[in-house]
């Protein structure tokens, strides 16, 4: 990098010794023989060099892509309908319990079946099939930047999709019996909602989604067929989420392995308001591990 910085002033001065000025571009730092040469380096460069701008460019493209693709527009309304009816109307209005637990539980289930497989199946499989993977990876994009960008993009889409659940939080705040709280000394009169429980539920959902989407990215990197990627993801998520239940059929010490690997219990403890470090570590390592393996899978094109 040091060598590059030293060279940049050489390429900066404008010269007119270019064969076709109209082809050399407007802000072009041409040296004697058509050397458009040095990419421009400035305050922008450090952000580019560590990969941040590329990761966000890929994530932004993916986020936008899910909004223009039919998949986004088909899944979102169905999820909203299902969650509103089974997660809110029935438990809250039906049995008069002011709780988001039904919503969180249902979302965890919906993540496994339609949401995660359908949003992640295209991420890398489609790039591979269309050949755009070659365009991306022959740009100065490192493999991990691509994987991270794809994952962040799908996580952002997931966040946008579930922002609709904030409507229920709003409804609780308006219609529950009022209490006055004083956060930072400002008196507020709000519905009597357990904010700690709510925050913990949302954190659990975020952790679960982050880990599941990373598994989806991994499955999508393995194949160029989107259907195969979707089913792989579905299978992997079912196993990861429910394998804790196998523990009840097994004798020690085998049961503790399945208890450790299973995701359901850990997610449940989040939605009961119990944020434990071991659960955070579990979801974080699941996400990082899957993204790491996905990067390796992409790299494998080189030595295959």
């Amino acid at each position: 990098m040091a060598r590059v910085r030293k060279r940049s002033p050489v390429a900066e001065p404008e010269t007119d010794a270019v064969a076709t000025p109209e082809l050399s571009g407007p802000a072009d730092g041409d040296s004697a023989d058509l050397g458009h040469g040095e990419p421009d380096r400035g305050a922008y460069e450090p952000f580019y060099a560590i990969g941040l701008t590329k990761v966000f460019a890929i994530a932004g493209r993916e986020f936008g892509g899910l909004f223009v693709s039919p998949i986004g527009w088909v899944i979102t309304p169905i999820v909203i309908l299902v969650v509103s009816y089974f997660g809110y109307l029935i438990p809250v209005l039906g049995s008069q319990q002011a709780t988001m637990e039904g919503i969180f539980g249902l979302i965890a289930f919906l993540l496994i079946l339609p949401i995660v497989p359908l949003t992640t199946m295209r991420l890398l499989a489609e790039e591979r099939r269309q050949g755009t993977l070659e365009m991306l990876l022959t740009s100065p994009v490192r493999d991990w930047e691509l994987v991270l960008g794809k994952w962040l993009g799908s996580l952002a889409f997931f966040g946008a999709m579930f922002s609709f659940t904030l409507v229920y939080v709003g409804l609780f705040l308006i219609y529950l019996p009022k209490v006055t709280v004083k956060p930072f000394g400002i008196p507020l009169t709000l519905g009597n909602l357990d904010f700690g429980l709510l925050l913990s539920g949302y954190l659990g959902l975020l952790a679960l989604a982050a880990a599941f989407l990373a598994v989806g990215v991994l499955c999508s990197s393995l194949t160029q067929n989107q259907i195969v990627a979707a089913f792989l993801t579905f299978g992997a998520l079912i196993v990861i989420y429910y394998c804790g239940q196998a523990a009840q059929f097994l004798a020690p010490p085998y049961d503790s392995f399945f208890q450790y690997v299973g995701g359901q219990e850990r997610y449940a403890s989040f939605s009961q308001g119990n944020i434990a470090l071991k659960d955070v570590v579990y979801f974080a390592s699941l996400a990082l591990g899957a993204l790491f393996i996905a990067t390796r899978v992409l790299e494998s094109r080189k030595w295959r």
């Binding site: 109209e22 050397g35 755009t132």
Partner: protein, 317 residues
């Protein structure tokens, strides 16, 4: 600009590229020629850092392709085979994304995108969805994305495959224009394309380099020691013409084919001196009508066929 040393790549047991070495000076337009499956795309993918080589070294603009791939790729614009594009994006948004990925600073992005749109004749299409463009326009978008970050080197893998003749010509003209300001490597199995656009041709067959020269030199060197072929159209009786021509000195073969309109087609191969004047004199003196006479020089196509269909052998120095 490019230095390639003993580059090899094998897929399992199959050797796709077999210790190729060449170098390309700045500003040159190099044609990479070979039949399908000869290793052209593999070599290009190695140069762009998409694949790694089994052995050998390659550097672009002084940066090693394997040790410093990110710096190399910032200086290379690549149009992959089949021109993959994001079909759901608008043309200008796609080019802007390419700018972001390739480190064009935010203040230059607008200028660069405007410039390539104009250079590639896409100004009226900037708001169009890529997936709805015709194949020729898609190809222009592919070239635009390869140029948008102002690379030193353009690597174009079969840039005209699958286009109709008008689009091929259009794309070729654009490449010639781009070649004035960039170093270009383009691969092709279409020979006229290479002789029309490239200053230098590298012919690859079964993974090894079989020729490396200017297109006209290749034909010339190939023709050496091969004698001369002359084709004539003569008005007159075929058998009489054949007897007269057989009297001319220094001909190896004479082939006369009568044509339905009273003319005949004559093909002659001479191994020593140019027999054209003697032939013309003989025919005119015998009272036949000489309608046409020309010598057939070897085209790049002949060179290509002879180099890629015979057993691979070293090009005579």
């Amino acid at each position: 600009m490019i230095e390639v040393q003993e580059l090899s790549k094998s897929y399992g047991q199959r050797l796709a590229v077999d210790s190729i070495s060449f170098s390309v000076p700045r500003g040159q337009v190099l044609g990479f020629l070979g039949p399908n499956g000869a290793g052209k795309s593999t070599t290009m993918r190695i140069l762009t850092g998409y694949l790694s080589a089994s052995s050998g070294s390659a550097s672009i603009a002084g940066y090693d392709v394997f040790a410093n791939p990110v710096e190399v790729r910032r200086r290379v614009g690549y149009l992959p085979e089949n021109n993959p594009l994001y079909n759901d994006m608008r043309v200008s948004n796609y080019l802007r994304l390419c700018c972001k990925l390739r480190g064009v600073s935010p203040r230059r992005r607008r200028d660069r995108v405007d410039y390539v749109l104009q250079a590639c004749g896409l100004e009226e299409r900037r708001r169009d969805i890529v997936g709805r463009l015709s194949k020729g326009l898609r190809q222009r978008v592919g070239l635009a994305q390869a140029v948008v970050h102002d690379p030193d080197l353009l690597i174009l893998d079969e840039p005209t495959s699958g286009l109709d003749p008008a689009q091929t010509r259009e794309t070729r003209d654009l490449i010639v224009e781009l070649g004035k300001a960039h170093t270009v490597i383009l691969s092709s199995h279409i020979l006229p394309e290479v002789s029309a656009t490239c200053e230098r041709v590298v012919i690859i067959n079964r993974g090894s380099l079989v020729a490396d020269d200017r297109p006209e030199n290749l034909a010339k060197r190939m023709a050496e020691g091969r004698g001369i072929d002359v084709e004539m159209t003569v008005r007159g009786d075929a058998e009489a013409v054949r007897r007269k021509i057989a009297l001319v000195q220094g001909l190896d073969t004479v082939e006369v084919v009568p044509l339905p309109n009273g003319e005949c087609q004559v093909k002659v191969h001479g191994s020593q001196e140019d027999p054209r004047e003697d032939l013309a004199r003989a025919i005119v003196r015998a009272g036949f009508g000489l309608r046409e006479l020309h010598s057939r020089t070897l085209s790049l196509e002949d060179v290509f066929i002879s180099l890629t269909t015979e057993e691979p052998q070293a090009w005579p120095e």
